[in-house]
């Protein structure tokens, strides 16, 4: 890269945006997330689960973060009759962000992969407002894969992914609780 390019960059007209953009990105639809996480699977079968209050409490205690929903979204990844693993789709709500992510867990309880499906950020108090979140429900599973022009590239102070890593730990506990109750 030549020095000239930097000068162009440094003197590029800075655009003062009218309203500061809030980051909002869709990365993967449900089908894409499943395919990326367990590519060998021939099919993904939805698994209906209803957690009892006792199970939810136990998961929250073991994981250290509350298991909010009693109906976790789970798919069994199958190759014929063989189970290759499970895909969990979950949401975490931070102070300013609302994140939908997918985790693949192997039959022996190992994390096979984690993919962020969508990321929403707001500066107001909407994050904890169910109506604000509801507008995004089902969006990821229906939208086409977004084109790069829709992705806002942002550079600033590093955002922590702690909420998601805590969520992954909780889903590992959830999976082991479900397995032990099935046994």
């Amino acid at each position: 890269m030549s020095r000239t390019i930097w000068y162009q960059l440094a003197s590029a007209p800075a655009v003062a945006l009218v309203a500061s953009p809030a980051a909002a990105t869709d990365y993967l639809t449900l089908e894409q997330a499943q395919r990326v996480l367990i590519p060998q699977a021939a099919s993904f079968r939805p698994v209906a689960v209803a957690l009892s209050d006792a199970q939810r409490k136990r998961i929250g205690k073991l994981a250290g973060t509350p298991q909010r929903t009693a109906q976790p979204k789970i798919w069994q990844a199958l190759d014929g009759k063989r189970t290759l693993g499970w895909v969990f789709v979950d949401e975490v709500i931070g102070k300013h962000e609302f994140i939908t992510y997918a985790v693949a867990i192997s039959p022996d309880g190992q994390v096979l992969g984690v993919e962020i499906m969508s990321y929403r950020e707001s500066k107001g108090g909407q994050i904890r407002n169910p109506r604000w979140r509801a507008q995004f429900k089902g969006k990821s599973s229906q939208d086409r894969l977004r084109l790069g022009k829709d992705i806002a590239n942002i550079s600033g102070a590093t955002l922590s992914c702690r909420n998601v890593t805590d969520g992954v730990k909780r889903l590992l506990v959830l999976q082991s609780v479900l397995q032990s109750s099935a046994a």
């Binding site: 960059l9 992705i151 590239n153 955002l159 992954v168």
Partner: protein, 298 residues
């Protein structure tokens, strides 16, 4: 967001544009995005694998990382590390020397005591008082620490990981790509990418167009911890005291590792950072004060 004309019309700046795809994973303690031309979508998994490799080697949090090995090693012993870790440590030591100690990867003790990093398997951070002067690079796979210390590569490893992932995308033949590791990003190809710069208060007021370069930003106004009566940020100055700033610095360079590290120096001394970068990069000028700030000053 897409209303600002030229940045998004994808015609005037970018006459022929292939479709892009972006994926995002939680890695390196942050959200890592990889964007590549859709024709090379398969390369994304390999790029993430590069970042995962750096994460495993250079994570402070994981006991079996190279940093875990270093903090468990008895003082004076030779520790065998991955060549990538030795490379990053060597670069960190060079930057430490050239910045008069402003860039320092041996501030793990202060970051643990301020609560920015966990204690991990060490029982007491207080005994880890070694400095950069106690680090000896033996060869490309071996390092000796003359005194116990907690090394944290948080100010440089995200940049190195980004460079590694970009290298993978380029070797895979992708015509263009972008890797963004929590704000430390690098991009390549015949495309001008709009990049929003997020200020210390979380607002984005400035957008630049970037092409074939790396870019990193640092701020800490929203990353503070109160310990007793003292306020701490994750940035520690040469005097061992926290660097507290409301502003944001952004550095453009030819490698993301360099851009990442240089933001830590520029937070304290923009002129020194610009001198050290020389022909390899630039520190973006600070934004003019906001009207509200000007009024407050008046």
């Amino acid at each position: 967001m897409a209303s600002s004309g030229c940045w998004y019309c994808n015609r005037c700046c970018n006459p022929v544009l292939p479709e892009l795809i972006t994926r995002c994973r939680p890695l390196l303690g942050t959200f890592v995005e990889v964007t590549v031309a859709a024709t090379h979508a398969d390369a994304v998994t390999g790029a993430f694998a590069e970042i995962e490799r750096v994460h495993r080697l250079m994570s402070f949090h994981e006991a079996d990382s190279d940093l875990g090995k270093l903090r468990r090693a008895p003082a004076g012993s030779v520790v065998k590390l991955d060549p990538a870790t030795v490379f990053v440590l060597t670069e960190a030591l060079r930057l430490h020397r050239e910045s008069g100690g402003l860039f320092d990867v041996t501030v793990g003790r202060q970051l643990v005591e301020a609560g920015f990093l966990p204690l991990c398997e060490t029982h007491n951070a207080d005994s880890f008082r070694g400095t950069c002067a106690d680090i000896t690079i033996v060869d490309d796979q071996r390092v000796t620490l003359g005194a116990k210390m907690l090394i944290d590569l948080g100010g440089i490893a995200k940049g190195y990981a980004t460079d590694s992932a970009i290298g993978y995308l380029q070797r895979a033949g992708a015509p263009m790509g972008l890797v963004n590791a929590g704000g430390d990003l690098r991009l390549f190809g015949e495309r001008q990418w709009p990049v929003h710069l997020r200020d210390g208060d979380g607002e984005m007021r400035e957008t630049i167009l970037a092409q074939d370069c790396a870019l990193a930003s640092s701020a800490n106004a929203l990353e503070r911890r109160q310990i007793g009566t003292r306020e701490w940020s994750p940035h520690i100055g040469a005097d061992g005291q926290p660097v507290l700033t409301q502003g944001r610095v952004t550095v453009i360079a030819d490698s993301c590792m360099l851009a990442d590290a240089m933001t830590k120096i520029a937070l304290v001394d923009r002129t020194l950072a610009a001198q050290m970068l020389g022909a390899r990069g630039t520190v973006l000028p600070p934004l003019p004060p906001l009207p509200s700030q000007t009024q407050a000053a008046a």
